[in-house]
Amino acid sequence: MRVSGSRKWLEKIPMVLWLTVLWVLFWGDLSLANVLAGALIGLFVMTVMPMPRIGFEGRVSFIGTAILLGKFAVDVLLASVQVARQALRFGHDPHGAVIRVPLRSHSDLYLTLTAVLCSLVPGSIIVEAHRLSGTLYVHVLDVPAAGGIAKAKADVLAQERRVLYALATDADIAEAGLPPRPWKRGRTDGPDPTTAVGPSGPAGDDQAVTR
């Protein structure tokens, strides 16, 4: 498949933008010279040490991103307190488990972001990911504290949903079996939100390995 030169350049734009922002932030000084230098250095680095071509076909939603980050911050805060409390409770033996969560999206990128965000929240960590089936294996520090296996699994899927709402295209969201973004539902006629939210499979499907 031959790709035209302009297409090739267009694909680089998001990364160059990100590197430019980063450059300006590093210097802490927003000036024309810094923006230009950042863009040039970003382009230079990407040209001299290229990675395989891979397009970003998502669509960034600012509301979705804000929700994703806000919820993540709250999660981290709450979970930190929770884990700290568990660590300081003597005599309490946390009941850990590795649970398997088949994700609904079909993209390596969303899988990775979901996994990374889950890992960053204290108390849960991704021990394994299967790329072909899009499955995450999540270790939960204390199942009762996480609200049971079903809740832990639902939390991971909710995390994925927020990632999709922040970055994915409407088509991707629909393909994952999720309703369109709630704040856009008025404009697009999507499926009824109440039926699709939540874990897709029956609860008995959860396979938990308790230790």
Partner: protein, 991 residues
């Protein structure tokens, strides 16, 4: 003068390219380079004879009295013409001598021209130290030329022998020069030394002996004569140039140069007589029995060199004039003879005179120069050799002191031998011999015959016009201290000299006729100790002594080395503490209480590290101590140090783990209980000592700290606010230079230990990966948890399993991690931009080339860990040597640039300029130095990843097993090592 030397240097550097471009005909343009030196000398002839030759004096290292002073007087003029003229002719000869497809001609031509340049400098400089430098340069280049056929053992051995013998003499000569320079009234300028030799005394006598040792080793005089015949392993043009005309003449030149000042000293006279006389006779005697024409000439050269030194080493003007004339004559006839032998060798395929027959008929144009040159050598009129020898006899006959009589006797005996072996050469090379069929000869290119004929006819013409030689050479001979000026003439009238010549010819012919008997006698009688055998014996003894010393001092036991080093540290510190009355002053426990907490963590981790039985555990615990130090730096308000330490710690961890993959999982059990206690005691003592030092040092200061000056100085002279970085690139830039050089050496060392095959191989790219030959990091039995990542047949959608990194597919499926791959893709360029930022920002805020290099190195490490060795090749498709080399070059080059603007090395400057709307640019030149550091660090990282990572992987795959998995190894599988499980089962528990 300097231009000529620079021309030689440039030509030497460009020679490989020229030879690649033109093939063997490339020798012809290169011949112009030494030729230009000869032309320069010829053009200056008039001025030189009048004593107004060109001079040059450039101060180089005044502190060592080393200056680039050159001058062209009559002796230098003669030598420049020989070195340049013969050099040009021999280079031209090379264009036909070598086969057109011969290999390594580029290197040969380059070294040859460089040698000519070194020789040119040697004979024209007026500074003893610079002369020594050129002297050793000729030694090194001749080593390379003798060893040209490096695949032959004989050539390698001969080259080694030559360099050892001549370097030995060179070092002796250097000592002599140093004494002459430092002695009362001494000097490092040759002309001053000759004009006013330092007053006598034991020291000066020793200096004379040492300088003469240098001369006689270079000119292959007894007892160093054996290296010259060995050096005949070199290609024939090298023999003709180095071992006839040029390098061996360096010794003769040195004697001639110093004789006007020192020839009257008794020690000089005795050494010249004994070594020169013995050599002349021994060389001639040995030449009588050689069967190889080249060896015959080699021994003849040894003999002639003795003769020359004997003459130019005398104090008498007439003898010296004869010696100078013979230097010129010898260069022409001996080079011509060697080149003739080269022609014979090429045409007939042999140099053995027992096999050659009838060449006079088949190779007429080799016979002509051979005969002419040999006649000149044996001293037949009207050749140059005859003129010189007649003048020598004439002059010696008129002197009646005992020394001169002895010299005369030696010269006559030597000349008889010379006549005999000269005739034997002609007979052996060209005559038709009874019982030997005519040698069949190949047709050789006409060009091959040019050089020997030019040289041989030059000898004839020089002999036909002796007055010209006398006019040209007399000015130097007249600087000798004693006697009447001599004359060069073809006909000196009837007298004793003519009679002696007759005796020489008759006796020589008799020896020639009785050659078979003499050969046989020589085989039966061995004369004195064999110098060659003595040399080999000495070298063997040296070798065995060094082996013995090494086996005593280098036991190969790491604990012993470390123990000795630590014990020495402890003993020295406590000795000085006791002697110097060190005391611990006022103490403050901490600045912030949290420091105590960090210290406790570090201490506990350190203790557990020492207790750890598992290697990986020890490494991780060690990492904790390192990161603890990071915290301490950060708490102390040193973000720069904290950043650097954190990065170094990270990289150390990675390197450790790369290495650990090939080591057993557990430390060995070998140390016994008792030795373990000793180690613990030593460790405790060292710990206490270091703590003591840390407590003493803050109170041991006796003067104000210079650190207080740093902030201001760093800004005023280094133009930066980040003191740490300015210290690295400006204030202590020399240290940094040394350190990056050490880094480079270390990287090369690591790589050469790991790379068993050539290190400069190519970078492995993903396109080289053959899917059928197995994947990277595949192992026979992956753990149960690895099965999860095995690919199953499942519907794959376009957005799944995409190619996030270049070479992920080369990995074994169960080694791949989608999270790792995607994350790598997302952060790789970000890390690089961060590295660039650190590089540019370093001068004023935390950062700098070193840190930036570490960040870029970690970015590469991430690529390697995520995608294996093909990914590394894709991420950095360059050889680390390129990065290391260009980094060091950039740093050193940036350091040298200020010299061009009248600054000092590594001085920094600031360049400000305006870019309109974009604002001002403030560029400090040390940035380029820092970029060099950056490249070296990245190169080091790449080298480590390539050797300890990729190459170890490759070797493992080639052996059919993947590198063991650190995280999954089982205690049972670590065969030869500790067996903690069994120990535990036996009830002993971990010890």
């Amino acid at each position: 003068m300097l231009q000529l030397l620079a021309l030689h240097l440039l030509a030497a550097v460009a020679a490989p390219a020229i030879m690649r471009r033109f093939g063997r005909k490339g020798f012809l343009p290169l011949a112009l380079v030494p030729g230009s030196a000869a032309v320069w000398a010829v053009v200056n002839t008039g001025a030189v004879v009048d004593g107004r030759g060109p001079t040059l004096d450039v101060s180089w290292i005044p502190a060592l009295d080393m200056s680039l002073s050159f001058r062209l007087d009559v002796l230098s003029w003669l030598m420049v013409i020989l070195v340049g003229g013969v050099g040009a002719i021999v280079l031209g000869y090379c264009a036909w001598y070598f086969a057109s497809g011969a290999k390594f001609l580029g290197r040969f031509a380059g070294v040859f021209v460089a040698f000519a340049g070194a020789m040119l400098g040697l004979v024209t400089t007026d500074n003893t130290l610079v002369l020594y430098v050129f002297w050793e340069l000729t030694t090194v280049f001749s080593y390379l030329l003798i060893g040209h056929y490096f695949d032959r053992k004989g050539a390698r051995r001969a080259a080694m022998q030559a360099i050892i013998v001549t370097t030995l003499g060179g070092l002796a000569m250097l000592f002599g020069f140093l004494i002459l320079g430092e002695a009362e009234g001494g000097s490092y300028t040759i002309s001053e030394l000759i004009a006013a030799p330092p007053a006598g005394g034991g020291l000066v006598t020793a200096a004379i002996v040492l300088v003469l040792v240098g001369a006689i080793s270079k000119s292959a005089l007894v007892p160093f004569h054996f290296w010259l015949p060995g050096a005949m392993a070199a290609p024939t043009p090298v023999s003709a140039y180095l071992h006839a005309a040029a390098m061996v003449k360096a010794g003769v030149y040195l004697v001639a140069r110093f004789a006007p000042g020192f020839a009257e000293t008794p020690v000089w006279q005795w050494m010249i007589l004994l070594t020169g006389g013995a050599t002349m006779i021994l060389g001639g005697y040995r030449a009588l029995r050689q069967h190889d024409l080249k060896l015959l000439l080699a021994f003849g050269t040894v003999s002639q060199l003795g003769f020359l030194i004997l003459l130019v080493g005398q104090a008498d003007r007439a003898v010296a004039l004869a010696g100078l004339a013979l230097i010129g004559a010898h260069a022409m006839f001996k080079a011509a003879l060697f080149l003739t032998v080269g022609v014979i060798d090429a045409a007939a395929g042999t140099r053995d005179l027992r096999q050659l027959s009838g060449l006079a008929k088949h190779l007429p144009w080799a016979t002509v120069p051979g005969v002419l040159a040999a006649f000149s050598m044996v001293g037949l009129p009207p050749f140059a050799g005859y003129v010189g020898k007649e003048a020598a006899l004439e002059a010696l006959v008129h002197l009646d002191d005992p020394m001169s009589v002895a010299v005369l006797v030696v010269v006559v005996i030597g000349s008889i031998l010379t006549f005999a072996y000269g005739m034997r050469f002609l007979w052996g090379a060209f005559a038709r011999k009874k019982g030997v069929p005519d040698t069949s000869v190949d047709k050789e290119a006409t060009g091959l015959y040019v050089a020997p004929n030019v040289l041989a006819f030059a000898g004839l013409f020089a002999g036909l016009f002796p007055v010209a030689g006398e006019t040209l050479l007399a000015p130097y001979a007249d600087t000798y201290p004693q006697g009447e000026p001599g004359h060069l003439t073809l006909w000196g009238g009837f007298g004793i000299p003519l009679l002696l010549t007759g005796v020489i010819i008759v006796a020589g012919l008799l020896l020639m006729l009785g050659r078979t008997a003499i050969e046989r006698a020589q085989e039966l009688v061995s004369v004195g100790p064999d110098a060659d055998r003595t040399y080999r014996g000495t070298m063997r003894r040296l070798d065995s002594i060094s082996v013995a010393v090494t086996s005593i001092t280098q036991r190969g036991s790491l604990p012993v080395y470390l123990g000795l080093i630590l014990l020495t540290t402890v003993v020295m510190i406590w000795t000085s503490a006791y002697a110097g009355g060190l005391r611990i002053g006022a103490l403050k426990p901490w600045d912030y209480p949290v420091q105590a907490g960090v210290a406790v963590v570090i201490a506990v981790a350190a203790f557990l590290t020492a207790r750890a039985r598992r290697r990986l555990k020890a490494v991780v615990l060690l990492g904790i101590t390192g990161y603890g130090v990071v915290l301490l730096f950060a708490l102390q308000g040193a973000p720069d140090l904290a950043l650097t330490q954190a990065l170094v710690e990270t990289i150390t961890l990675v390197v450790f783990i790369l290495v650990l993959r090939r080591l057993p999982a557990y430390f060995s059990n070998r140390p016994l209980k008792a030795s373990r206690w000793w180690r613990a005691i030593l460790a405790t003592i060292v710990g206490v000592t270091v703590t003591f030092v840390a407590l003493v040092i803050p109170n041991a200061r006796v003067t104000d700290t210079i650190a207080e000056l740093f902030p201001e100085e760093a800004y005023n002279f280094g133009y930066g606010r980040n003191i740490v970085n300015v210290t690295l690139v400006d204030i202590r830039a020399w240290d940094t230079m040394g350190e990056i050089s050490v880094l480079l050496v270390a990287a090369t060392g690591v790589a050469s230990l790991v790379f068993l095959r050539a290190r400069a191989g190519r970078v492995e790219r993903i396109r080289d990966h053959d899917m059928d030959r197995g994947s990277v990091w595949a192992s026979d039995s992956p753990g149960d948890d690895a099965l999860v990542r095995r690919s199953r047949t499942q519907p794959v959608r376009s957005t799944r399993n995409r190619r996030w990194i270049s070479a992920g597919v080369a990995l074994a499926p169960h080694r791949r991690s989608v999270i790792f791959e995607v994350a790598t893709r997302l952060i790789f360029h970000t890390m690089l931009v961060f590295a660039v930022y650190l590089l540019f920002a370093g001068h004023n805020s935390p950062g700098g080339g070193f840190v930036a290099g570490l960040v870029a190195g970690i970015a590469l490490t991430v690529r390697y860990l995520a995608g294996g060795r093909y990914e590394l090749g894709e991420a950095a498709p360059v050889l680390p040597g390129l990065l290391l080399g260009s980094g060091l070059f950039l740093s050193a080059g940036a350091g040298a640039v200020p010299l061009a603007f009248g600054g000092v090395v590594l001085q920094s400057a600031v360049i400000d300029f305006h870019l309109g709307y974009l604002g001002d640019v403030h560029l400090v030149t040390t940035l380029f130095f820092d970029i060099g550091v950056f490249l070296v660090v990245v190169g080091l990282m790449l080298d480590i990843l390539r050797s300890l990572g990729a190459e170890v992987d490759r070797q493992g795959e080639a052996e059919g097993r993947a590198a063991p998995d650190v995280a999954h190894d089982s205690p049972r599988s670590t065969a030869d090592d500790a067996q903690p499980l069994e120990d535990a089962l036996a009830g002993g528990g971990p010890r």
